[in-house]
Amino acid sequence: MNRRLRVLIAKPGLDGHDRGAKVIARALRDAGMEVIYTGLHQTPEQIVETAIQEDVDVIGLSILSGAHIPLFKRVMDLLKEKGAEDILVFGGGVIPEDDIPVLESFGVKKIFTPGTSTREVIEYLEEYFKNGRN
């Protein structure tokens, strides 16, 4: 890798639970990645715009309010529209088992559910990008 992995941690929708997003942001930063955190209440449009502007490799979406299906779908649609579907998208939060295949069908690569260690997320990203970025 010639540069550090750039990650956008984002909170889509109105959900205010940001403990997990902030812990992940900090853990990824401590693991040597460059991390941008959007703050609360981001629209999918804002998230995708930030991701493109900041030229990130990864977007991590955190949501605990149950509105993940429409919001994740909109983010993925916008990424495709803007030709940015090479950005890896993962998600975390209170997401029922049944919804995971639905999110994956939109192109979300990985969903981390409650109880996941930050180590697992770091290892997942390192593994995914071990051969450099595409």
Binding site: I9, G13, L14, D15, G16, H17, D18, R19, K22, V23, A25, R26, A27, R29, V35, Y37, T38, G39, L40, H41, T43, S65, G66, A67, I69, P70, L71, V94, P96, E97, D98, T113, P114, G115, S117, T118, R119
Partner: protein
């Protein structure tokens, strides 16, 4: 006596203890509470030196209220069992409330969806996908009429988790009371109305701190004159704790918020004893049973001192910290979810031993989704078992006088005062929030906690130890996506049939008044009764007040 006790303790350490510890070392070098407070092997009178029963504890129902705010506590009546509930449309939530009341619940606690909490109507494109998700969707008085249909407001006490739009929801509640022919002085309940913790930890803010504080003190003033039994605010540590704060941080930041509200009301010209008796609090109950009990006792003693010494309150009711407790959602695990019933039991016990006035017990499946009816019933039964079977409520503050509990109460109080002093020196809580100090302290604690879990310095059963292979597919509750469409239709229907001239006139009056210092509650009440929507009213205030920008850092 202490000299001889000290000698005796040294003798015990060098003989009886040493013999055992040499052969069987303790499990750890250092023992700490959940919040990181060092825990000694054994507590004796040496650990509470200077302890004075009357000044430190006193009798229940008397200053400094360490032992409780009522003289008989649960011998008089149990705490209010109040389950937070609401989802989907007003009609579905109304059915859940009637079910809960029929199961012996004694108070209602309304969960609103995020659009309602943040001042957006259901048809706003910004909220697509959120309607009816984490609570009930309320766009106008019409929805509220359905929500309380068949529930006489003079027979229940109602708690509403609503903050930046609290004045609107309170106005709707008052309008329902009017329609039911019930006078305002019979209304009992609480609005959360605590904006400071929204900036710190919960996130449903709209306006900047100053106009938000004005709305809050407008409510204090209005209620003290019109709805005397209404709790005008629930100053909340719950979400601060959920965000990762320790027990001392939870009470320190909550009481510092409380101080800020009192100061704001005083500077508006209100008399402290006019509004302070209606201030209430809301705390979290975590697993560390004894630390939590000590926390509740410390909070009570501190608030009494703050009100008496700092604000010169004369009315004892102004000095009483009355609080609601909820068990800790953040401690529930998605793994082996039935274990959560046990966690909730310990937490509920802590709240009862700590003298709570009301309690919500979480459901076992909340790390997976919204709780099902079965899970909610078990959660309520947990409270009923503690009330009717455990024997714990039969005497007031049963753990008082335990060397450990008293030492821990003192220690938590000391740590919390240090935070409050620091915040005072920074220029108060609003300053501390604007600078991100409070958020940073909480984030640090949350990150520290996570690291300890990952390094197995903390064991969470089923998560980092005692794991099993399991296929977690419990029955879970899903909100029907159709709800959004139905809600939007209702709203559009309403906008057609209401008297739009009356709406426009009420909103324009509200806008004019928002620019003055006048109390806004009566004007919001008028707008609500004209069936102006929550989003319309919030937009008017957004125009005048502006919106809050979060300070972001990691």
């Amino acid at each position: 006596m202490n000299e001889s006790l000290k000698k005796e303790k040294e003798r015990w350490e060098s003989t009886t203890l040493k013999k055992v510890i040499d052969r069987f070392p303790e499990r750890k070098k250092e023992f700490r509470s959940y919040s990181g407070i060092p825990i000694e092997r054994v507590y004796t009178p040496l650990d509470i030196e200077g302890f004075d029963y009357l000044s430190h504890l006193g009798f229940p129902g008397e200053y400094p209220y360490t032992r409780g705010v009522q003289p008989t506590m649960y011998r008089g009546r149990f705490w209010t069992m109040r389950q937070y509930a609401g989802f989907g449309t007003a009609k579905e939530s109304n059915q859940r409330y009637k079910y809960l009341l029929s199961q012996g619940q004694t108070g209602l606690s309304i969960a609103f969806d995020l659009p309602t909490q943040m001042g957006y109507d259901s048809d706003n494109p910004l909220v697509s996908g959120e309607v009816g998700k984490v609570g009930v969707a309320i766009d106008s008085l019409e929805d509220m009429e359905v929500l309380f249909s068949g529930i006489p407001l003079d027979k229940v006490s109602t708690s509403m988790t609503i903050n930046s739009t609290a004045a609107i929801l309170l106005s709707m509640y008052m309008a329902i009371a009017e329609k039911q022919g019930i006078s305002f002085n019979k209304l009992r309940g609480t609005i959360q109305n605590d904006i400071l913790k929204e900036y710190i930890a919960r996130g449903t803010y709209i306006y900047p701190p100053r106009p938000s504080m004005r709305l809050i003190t407008d409510i204090f003033e209005f209620c003290s004159r019109n709805i005397p039994r209404w709790n005008t605010i629930s100053i909340s540590g719950y979400h601060i704790r959920e965000a990762g704060a320790t027990a001392p941080q939870e009470i320190a930041f909550t009481l510092a918020d409380g101080i800020t509200y009192v100061e704001a009301a005083l500077s508006k010209g209100l008399n402290v004893d006019e509004f302070a008796p209606r201030l209430s609090f809301f705390f979290n109950a975590h697993n560390n049973l004894l630390e939590e009990v000590a926390k509740f006792r410390a909070a009570r003693r501190m608030w009494a001192k703050i009100m008496k010494e700092r604000f010169g309150a004369k009315n004892p009711k102004s000095m009483m910290l009355r609080f609601h407790t909820q068990t800790a959602g953040s401690t529930l695990t998605a793994q082996q979810p039935d274990n959560n019933i046990v966690r909730v039991t310990i937490q509920a016990l802590a709240a009862v031993l700590g003298g709570t006035q009301s309690l919500h017990t979480n459901s076992r499946d909340e790390a997976l989704s919204l709780p099902t009816e079965d899970s909610v019933r078990i959660a309520l039964r947990t409270q009923q078992i503690i009330a009717y079977e455990s024997g714990v409520p039969e005497t007031v503050d049963p753990l008082a006088g335990s060397y450990f509990i008293e030492a821990m109460t003192n220690r938590i109080e000391k740590e919390a005062w240090e935070y409050i002093d620091k915040i005072d020196k920074m220029g108060g809580m609003i300053k501390a929030i604007e600078e991100g100090y409070v958020q940073k302290e909480i984030q640090d604690s949350a990150y520290q906690f996570q690291k300890e879990v990952e390094e197995k310095e903390r064991i969470i059963v089923g998560v980092n130890e005692f794991k099993i292979e399991e296929d977690i597919k419990p029955k879970i509750l899903k909100v029907d996506p159709e709800i959004e469409r139905i809600q939007i239709e209702r709203l559009q229907e309403l906008k057609k049939k209401r008297d739009n001239r009356a709406v426009k006139s009420a909103l324009s009056t509200l806008k004019d008044k928002a620019k003055t210092d006048e109390n806004l509650v009566p004007y919001i009440f008028d707008a609500v009764k004209a069936y102006a929507t929550l989003g319309e009213i919030s937009d008017v205030l957004r125009d005048v007040f502006g919106i809050y920008e979060e300070k972001i850092f990691i």
